[in-house]
């Protein structure tokens, strides 16, 4: 399977909010290289999920274009596992795989890769959150995609499960030579996973970082990693702005608010 690059050219997108057009993405251009993990990093509401959905074909851009080189079969791992509740683990993985004629052995192999051996016949609600995410990743892999789009897939997981999943994902990516586009708001996660890190702010690309590949598990305490983290933080530092309401709170403007527990009648109405 020829895996090609994806060229994202001058993508813009705006949504109507309260009658006004709010620009979410503003002239974004990006190159996604094969067999690499590209991480889109940004604060909540910066437009990173919209960009991912546009590249993944789930939404249309207002302007710009995306060129897919070679095979452009794409799979998506969403923020929530989005498993079919009426299907077992095996059938959930087959859900995407049957479109490309996946074999029984391949499904069993994927179940092993994501560490769910013995859970073939379990239903989603019988699995923990982490296990459900693994099924959703296996479902994406069963589609044998050239690119996997991942939208904060580990955001809802606890620290330990997240770390384990991140390591497993890196391992899988090495073994299967997958290309991944990963969206996150966690700098640590970006540093652990990414070959390229793209910072997005207010719908624009702020800066990109390239992290040299090493075979071992990345150590965030490594001086070079700390240096990159500092640079990333530096980028965000100057742009933390507050809205009017947030400023009120910051300046201790608590005239109308009262502390808990409050016994004033109808206080909850005034809040």
């Amino acid at each position: 399977m020829a895996i090609g690059e994806i060229h994202v050219k001058n993508i813009s997108k705006s949504f109507p909010v309260n009658g006004k057009n709010t620009t979410v993405l503003d002239d974004i251009s990006l190159e996604l290289h094969p067999k690499e993990i590209t991480v889109i990093l940004g604060k909540s509401g910066c437009g990173k999920t919209t960009l991912l959905r546009i590249i993944g074909g789930l939404e249309k851009a207002d302007a710009g274009q995306i060129e897919y080189e070679g095979d452009s079969r794409m799979a998506f791992v969403f923020q929530e596992p989005r498993l079919m509740p009426w299907l077992s683990v095996y059938d959930n993985i087959k859900f995407s795989g049957k479109k490309i004629g996946i074999t029984d052995n391949e499904i069993r192999n994927l179940i092993n890769i994501v560490g769910l051996r013995g859970f073939d016949n379990s239903y989603p609600n019988q699995l923990s959150g982490g296990m459900q995410h693994r099924v959703s990743i296996a479902r994406a892999m069963a589609y044998k995609p050239s690119f996997i789009m991942m939208d904060e897939p580990f955001a809802a997981l606890d620290y330990f499960t997240r770390e384990q999943m991140q390591n497993e994902l890196r391992e899988m990516q090495h073994k299967q030579h997958m290309s991944i586009l990963f969206v996150t708001h966690s700098i640590d996660e970006a540093l652990l996973l990414g070959n390229n890190i793209v910072l997005i702010e207010n719908g624009r690309i702020k800066k990109s970082f390239n992290i040299p590949e090493s075979d071992s598990v990345r150590d965030l305490m490594n001086p070079s990693m700390i240096a990159i983290k500092q640079q990333i933080l530096e980028q965000f530092k100057n742009t933390i702005t507050f809205s009017k309401e947030e400023k009120n709170v910051k300046e201790n403007n608590f005239d109308n608010a009262c502390s808990e527990p409050c016994r004033k009648p109808f206080c909850w109405l005034r809040k």
Binding site: F76, F78, P85, W86, Y123, Y143
Partner: protein
């Protein structure tokens, strides 16, 4: 003892309740407050029941009523499934028939009996129409609810993996709606059972409803009570059976928490 009770309490408790009711019923009869005609004793009802079983007439009435329910319910399901799917998948189509559907939803099927007798006599057709009208709406409304309520996020998964509209309908929308569809069918079955008894009491020469009305005219209160108990029991058993089917089809709603 405690574990025995915990294990079997869901069977034992209702039996105890029923025994208490029978005991109270016997006590009232024995006190002589009511005449035999108004309230026959449990013993008399039981003896009459055995006689009815022996003669075999009762089986005939039960089977006739059941067949009517089965026919009417099947037709109602097919109609509701077709119209419900159409309404859900082609929302624009509903402007043509939605007011009519809502109109008939508010018309009690039994009120149509005079017309139906005029048009179709007291034959099978009028009773099956009553059942169809009674059970159509809960099935239809649940199918529409189930299909329209399909999780957009799951449909998006279908988009990602290149599912066609037809594949999404059979692979995502209908399985998702299965719980609602089956619940609608279960309610519809209950409604059709109630409707047939009413219809048989007004316009029939056979069936359990007719048996009850005929017994009343013959002043056989014991037979009326037997009729009522049979209707309740058959309704309960058919609902239980349906519940079991739902459990098998949905692979244990309670167990996988999906409903």
């Amino acid at each position: 003892m405690n574990s025995f009770w915990n294990k079997y309490k869901k069977y034992i408790a209702p039996v105890i309740t029923i025994l208490i009711i029978i005991f109270a019923w016997s006590a009232v009869c024995a006190s002589g407050t009511f005449s035999e005609y108004v309230l026959p004793s449990p013993g008399k009802v039981w003896n009459t029941f055995l006689k009815l079983l022996e003669s075999g007439d009762i089986w005939e009435d039960i089977i006739i009523s059941l067949i009517r329910v089965l026919k009417g319910f099947t037709i109602a399901f097919i109609l509701a499934f077709f119209l419900g799917t159409l309404t859900s998948l082609l929302p624009n189509s509903r402007i043509w028939y939605e007011p009519l559907v809502q109109f008939f939803r508010n018309v009690p099927p039994l009120s149509l009996i005079p017309l139906l007798i005029l048009w179709y006599g007291i034959g099978e057709t009028s009773k099956i129409i009553i059942i169809v009208l009674a059970s159509f709406f809960p099935i239809y409304l649940n199918i529409v609810k189930g299909i329209l309520g399909c999780d957009e996020k799951l449909l998006e998964v279908g988009d990602v993996y290149d599912y066609s509209a037809k594949e999404k309908l059979f692979g995502i929308i209908l399985p998702y709606a299965a719980a609602d569809i089956l619940v609608g069918m279960r309610i519809g079955l209950g409604y059709s059972w109630r409707a047939i008894i009413g219809a048989e009491m007004v316009a029939a020469a056979s069936g359990l409803g007719h048996m009850i009305l005929f017994a009343q005219q013959m002043s056989r209160t014991d037979k009326v009570i037997i009729g009522i108990i049979l209707i309740g029991t058959i309704g309960y058993l058919s609902d239980k059976l349906f519940g079991m089917i739902i459990k098998v089809v949905l692979k244990g709603v309670g167990e996988n928490g999906w409903q």
